[in-house]
């Protein structure tokens, strides 16, 4: 691998990894609090991308479309928790899990009905003023890297800084961490636990939408099932990093993105197996280190 190719792959891997990480955090936060795998998470991302797409079509400038996509997804995530998961808080965990799978199908079907099954091109959000985002490249060490790649990476990094600030430096973040260890006692502190859980869903969904929108800028195919594979990959990334651990989800996401890209780069003939590769990683990690890279030893609650 030449230096230039290596750099090319590195930046690609970091970008992909960042997107996986953005999605993975949502899985891990919800799991950390409710021990629920929110299978609809990738579909919430898809919805956010559609929101941004249609906002743009309706004439909103790019920045506003992006915000509409992000806040729309946040509200959707909050709403889904309220109507679908909250009534099941005291039900057996399997009920919520099945509901999550149902919610995933539901969102995909709604998208087919409302937005149509035919893929749309996200490039429609760009106009004369900001088309350069797509075309411009920088020459780095002989590699031509799209400027968008850097922007995606930078924004991803900023989002994670914001996330860590919220979780570790604000009161609502403290409440989120408290809930992840003890919901009843958190409510004894005068904290409305359902609001905090709703906020967690909103935050995770907003990050997923941000990731999805940046993804769609690079790979402009918008369709109702677009959330499926990234959602699955991000789930694998969350398990890889240790589900329930936010730093774990970030590390797992970047690691999975880099591994995938370099696998294909080193073995071009294996390119078609890229998705299968992610599942191999999942199986291996479940076999040799089920708690993930940064996960705590799982304790069986008595």
């Amino acid at each position: 691998m030449s230096g230039a190719t290596f750099l090319q792959n590195l930046f690609n891997g970091l970008m992909f990894g960042g997107l996986y990480a953005l999605l993975a955090v949502g899985y891990t936060m919800v799991y950390g609090i409710l021990r629920l795998i929110n299978f609809a998470h990738g579909d919430i991302m898809m919805m956010g991308v559609y929101f941004a797409f249609y906002a743009s079509l309706a004439g909103a400038p790019l920045w506003l479309s992006v915000l509409i996509g992000i806040f729309g997804a946040a509200f959707l995530g909050f709403l889904i928790d309220r109507v679908a998961y909250k009534p099941l808080r005291n039900a057996p965990r399997i009920s919520a899990l099945i509901t999550a799978i149902g919610m995933s199908f539901f969102l995909e079907s709604i998208a087919v009905v409302v937005f149509g099954a035919v893929p749309k091109s996200f490039t429609a959000v760009f106009n004369e003023n900001n088309k350069w985002l797509l075309d411009k490249t920088w020459n780095i060490g002989g590699a031509r890297i799209p400027v968008l790649t850097f922007i995606v990476f930078l924004i991803t990094a900023l989002i994670f800084m914001l996330l860590f600030w919220i979780v570790y430096r604000t009161k609502i973040g403290m409440a989120m961490r408290a809930i992840s260890s003890d919901i009843p006692t958190t409510s004894l502190m005068g904290i409305n636990v359902d609001m905090v859980i709703g906020f967690t869903f909103a935050l995770g969904s907003a990050m997923a939408a941000a990731g999805g929108i940046m993804w769609a800028m690079r790979y402009p195919n918008v369709f109702p099932y677009m959330g499926f594979m990234p959602g699955l990959k991000a789930f694998i990334a969350a398990v890889l990093g240790g589900i329930g651990s936010i730093p774990g989800a970030v590390v797992g996401g970047f690691l999975l993105g880099l591994l995938e890209i370099f696998l294909v780069a080193l073995m071009p003939s294996a390119a078609g197996y890229r998705d299968a590769f992610a599942f191999i990683i999942l199986i291996v990690i479940l076999l040799i280190k089920p708690d993930g890279l940064l996960g705590k030893k799982s304790v069986v609650k008595v």
Partner: protein, 242 residues
């Protein structure tokens, strides 16, 4: 009987069920302002259930919980805490993944009065100097005694009008047991109204003003604590005297 005036918290005919199990069978309790009232009884008598109902953790099937002239039965735990009732739960329930300082701030979660919070922090540091040395440590790394002190401090940080404690001396070494009871007395001398649940009847009755004896969901005896201490039945059943 206790005097009617200045009752902050009154439970009337409280009934609690867990499915078919009738855990608390129509008990009535009064907690006057500024006093320590204790609820003693053996394991399984219904002490925790009673406190849980007051705190909103379990919904009573029947009965009233009158706090400052409102019936709060059936309200959610966070509403009840915001009204001024704090619970030091059985088993301490420290947040193990939060620092000692964060655990204290969890107690003060809904308060906005920064200066007063600072004052209360200094007060609990004064009560429990050991906590101050461990502010940055995770709650889960504290010893059992330290966790109990943190649990009491955390409750104090909400500046409650009534503080309920569920077996604060449970599982502690004898030296620490005395320390905990001393602290409860100090909190009361500083104006705290306390509803104390204990199996350690001797110590609880020594520091409290009034006591109720709970047996399998019924109150079988109530009186001023000094009189209960002298009661023959109490001595036999709860103070280990023949």
């Amino acid at each position: 009987m206790q005097k009617q005036n200045d009752i902050v918290l009154e439970i009337k005919n409280l009934n609690i069920f867990y499915g078919a199990i009738h855990a608390v069978k129509g008990i009535s309790i009064k907690v006057p302002k500024g006093k320590i009232v204790t609820l003693i009884g053996a394991n399984g008598a219904g002490k925790t259930s009673t406190l849980s109902a007051i705190a909103g953790m379990v919904k009573p099937k029947e009965g009233e919980i009158i706090y400052k002239n409102n019936n709060i039965a059936g309200k959610s735990p966070h509403e009840i805490n915001r009204m001024g009732i704090a619970l030091v739960p059985e088993g301490r329930r420290i947040f193990p993944n939060l620092t000692v300082y964060e655990n204290l701030m969890m107690g003060a979660f809904n308060r906005k009065d920064k200066e007063e919070i600072e004052r209360d922090l200094n007060w609990v540091y004064n009560l429990f100097p050991r906590l101050k040395e461990r502010l940055k440590q995770l709650g889960g790394t504290l010893s059992g005694g330290e966790q109990q002190m943190l649990a009491i401090s955390r409750a104090l940080m909400s500046r409650p009008d009534v503080i309920m404690m569920d077996e604060p001396s449970l599982g502690l070494a004898p030296v620490l047991v005395s320390e905990v009871f001393d602290i409860i007395k100090v909190i009361n001398e500083n104006g705290g109204t306390i509803l104390l649940v204990e199996q350690n009847a001797a110590q609880a009755l020594k520091i409290s003003h009034y006591g109720y004896v709970l047996e399998t969901g019924n109150i079988i005896l109530e009186n001023n604590s000094d009189l209960l201490l002298k009661d023959e039945n109490v001595q036999k059943a709860y103070l280990g005297m023949a």
